[in-house]
């Protein structure tokens, strides 16, 4: 299992970084198709999630900070939590549930209906033809969705501050921008790029190695979601450790 996963990663690196220099290009139109599916179609879900999180964070922050008379720091807390943790993690959760599972099921169905074998026999490498476009689309769209989600989350925080805590809009924006450094944004983006890698390789690996018909496809899909969630959350803890508690 792990061996298959490592082999998929090596082969992916070859087809993305080496093969184009030998004249074997991947298809740009396929990448756009996957970007629409993985990214564009997920925007409404991401928006709703991020807005709810922004609102929730602001309410909790207000509750704790009010006791110390420090509501003025609500925007700081919302901004930092979203940029560093909530944005990248929750949006990755949505993409795992929505796109990771769909990719695993799609490739798994292709595997059991001999389509993958047919590609190989036509001398078309399934990693190049199927995995690379999904990989690149995910690598672009998950960070893009995360930026989008960050905005919406901060907007959720603003809604609470503006209408429940009587901040004025300019004050909220000032505080939020003052609290965050560019590193807070970048660290979240790096996380989200790493998550993209984890999610899509786990999903593709699960799909490409399905055995045993429709039942196998279902099992692989579930397994890919569970594995991707666990791997993503553990990686997040490690990255937070490195980024914010490291030397």
């Amino acid at each position: 299992m792990l061996k298959n996963y490592l082999r998929l990663n090596l082969s992916l690196l070859y087809w993305v970084f080496v093969a184009p220099f030998t004249g074997q290009f991947f298809s740009i139109s396929q990448i756009f198709r996957q970007m629409v599916f993985i990214g564009v179609r997920a925007t409404s879900m991401v928006a709703l999630t991020a807005f709810s999180i922004g609102v929730t964070l602001a309410m909790q922050a207000a509750h704790s900070l009010q006791q110390m008379g420090a509501e003025i720091y609500v925007p700081d807390l919302v901004m930092l939590s979203i940029l560093r943790e909530m944005g990248p993690v929750l949006i990755a959760v949505i993409v795992i549930g929505r796109s990771g599972s769909a990719v695993a099921a799609e490739l798994g169905t292709m595997k059991v209906s001999e389509e993958i074998e047919a590609l190989e026999v036509m001398a078309i490498n399934p990693v190049q033809y199927l995995v690379v476009p999904r990989f690149l689309a995910m690598l672009i769209m998950l960070p893009a969705l995360t930026i989008f989600g960050n905005y919406i989350g901060v907007l959720g925080g603003w809604a609470v501050c503006r209408f429940a805590l009587n901040f004025n809009t300019a004050g909220y924006i000032m505080r939020a921008l003052e609290s965050a450094e560019t590193w807070d944004l970048y660290s979240g983006m790096i996380k989200s790029g790493v998550f993209a890698w984890i999610v899509i390789t786990i999903a593709c690996n699960a799909g490409l190695h399905v055995e045993g018909g429709a039942e196998g496809v279902g099992q692989a899909t579930t397994a890919s979601v569970v594995q991707a969630l666990l791997a993503m959350l553990v990686t997040n803890a490690i990255l937070t450790g490195i980024f914010f508690f490291g030397a």
Binding site: A118, V121, A123
Partner: protein, 285 residues
Amino acid sequence: MPTPADSPVIEVVDLIRKFGDRTVINDISFNVRRGETLVIMGGSGCGKSTLLRHIIGSMKPTSGSVKIFGQEITTMNEHEIASVRRRFGMLFQSGALLASLTVGENVALPLLQHTDNSVDEIEEIVEEKLQMVGLSGFEDLKPAEISGGMKKRVGLARALALDPELLFSDEPTSGLDPIMTAVVDQLTLKLTHGEHMTAVVVTHDMTSAFRIATRMIMLGHGSIVAQGTPDEIRNSPNPEVQQFINGEADGPIPLNLSQDEHEHHQHVKPRPFIAARHRFHRKTA
């Protein structure tokens, strides 16, 4: 890679394949020469598709050797196999069309991947190939929207897209009506005429087999029961061959449905094979 004109296109030597302890291919050897049409026949489940999978390198044998165009395929790495595969086409028993692409895109796929032709040229070739199998006008349908026999023919058009030197077809005419069967047979004959193409065809359809074959192999229990020209097979004294080509239920080929075999073992209770979870759901009277 140039092969000397008289050396075989396919050379299978002592091929053995076991799944667990079941031997599905049991020591098979044969050659296919350029321009030949080899028909492989044999009962359902006797290992014909598995044999094809070993010849095209998508399964590795337990032991033995397979050479295509003079190159050993069983020990090749992915890159070497890919370069050999560009020279042959394969029609799968199930068609194996990509469900996410239309009929036209399926046929165009090998052309888009392996040639530098412009999209217009490719559309022209696709149109021509679909016409050869009697399917022009169906370019824009998805595989889910066409019949089983049509899928077969699209699969054949796709296998022929790159004008291969060598064609493998796994039951190209199953699910086709007699007229379409004749069309597909004519196509195979036309393409192999004048040694342009070599074909290995698996079929159950005896009319079609005798129409296209220049040589025939009959498999049984994973080994070769008989081989020879169509005339030799037709006049074979082997009763198994006669039973098969005449389609008779009575004969030497074991069918696993004879009653008397069971009577011998009646005192032994057969091994249960329905899992307990299925028994549980059964309503008891």
